[in-house]
Symmetry: C2
Amino acid sequence: MRSSAEHEIHRAGLRVTAGRLALLEVLDRFPHSDAATLHRHLVETDASISIQSVHNVLSDLTAAGLLRRIEPANSAALFERRVGDNHHHIVCTSCGAVADVECVVGHAPCIAPSDTAGFTLATAEVTFWGLCAPCQKLHVVPTKEIHD
Amino acid sequence: MRSSAEHEIHRAGLRVTAGRLALLEVLDRFPHSDAATLHRHLVETDASISIQSVHNVLSDLTAAGLLRRIEPANSAALFERRVGDNHHHIVCTSCGAVADVECVVGHAPCIAPSDTAGFTLATAEVTFWGLCAPCQKLHVVPTKEIHD
DNA sequence: GCCTTATTTTTAGTCGTTCACGATAAATGC
DNA sequence: GCATTTATCGTGAACGACTAAAAATAAGGC
C-alpha cells in the first residue's frame, strides 16, 4: 500500500524519508499540533527523530506547500495538512484547543476592508476566540475580559 | 499640563510612574511597536529603563486595558493604545509594517462562522496580509506564494 | 515627611526556534 | 545491484523574546 503522502512529498521535489512520512501520518491524526507535540508522538510510536529535525521537516514541508502553519497569539506555531483552501480557526482561550472553521460569508466581505492604507491586499486571516466544549463544562473563566 | 495618560493610568488603579508615562507617549508616536523597539526609543529620548521593565509595563498596561496587544505570525508582540474598538490590522509580508484597518462589513458577518465545533464564540480577530506602499515600489516579491 | 507596598532593576532562566556542520541515506545513473 | 551525488538528519550551540525571583527603589496615602 503506497501512501498518498509518499506521492505528495515526491511530487513536491523532495526526498521521501521516514521522518517526513511519519510526521505527515502523525499530523493526520493530530492536526493543529506544535513541533514539540509532534515530536512527542513520533518518539512514542517508534521513529527516533530529533526535535530539530522535526522543525526542519515542518519548515521544508510548509515551504513546499504540503503543510500550513498557523501561529495563534500566546502559542507556538501549529501545523495542519489541510492546505489550499481559506478555512479559518477557532482557538479556546482557556486550553488552547484549535478547531477548523469554514468562513460562512465566503471570501469577498472579509477580504475587502474599506481602507487598506496603501497596502496591496493579498490574503485575509481570521482567528476566532472562544471556549471549547470541555472548558465550558468546567466552568472555566477565561483570563481575558470579554466585553461584548 | 496634565497628560491624559496620567489620568488613564491613575484611573486604572495603577501608580503613575515615569516609565509608564514615557512608554505611553512613545507608543503614541510609534503605534504597533514591539518591546525592543519601544525600549530603543525610550533610551534614545532620555528615560533609562530596562528592557525587562518595558515588558513589565507593557504587560501591566495591557492587563489594565490601556493597551492592546497583537501578535502577527512571524513577529514579536506589538502594542497599540487604540483599545475598545474592534479594528483590525494589515501586515506587510515583506517588511512587517502594520496599519490599522476598519472592518467595512461591521461586526456580524465576520463573527458568525457557520460551525464553531462546539466552541462558545467570544471574539473574532482579522489580520490582512499584503504589501505596503513602499515595498510595492521596490518591486519586492513576497516570499510566500499568492495563488488567487 | 513616613510608611507601606507597588514598581523597577538586576540577574537568571525558559521556551521555541534557527544555525552550522559533519554524518547519513535517498535517488539517479551506470 | 552498486557507486555517486547531494538532500536530509543528528548533534551541539546559539539566538530572540519573554518570564521569574529577589533585592532596591519610589508612589502615594496617611
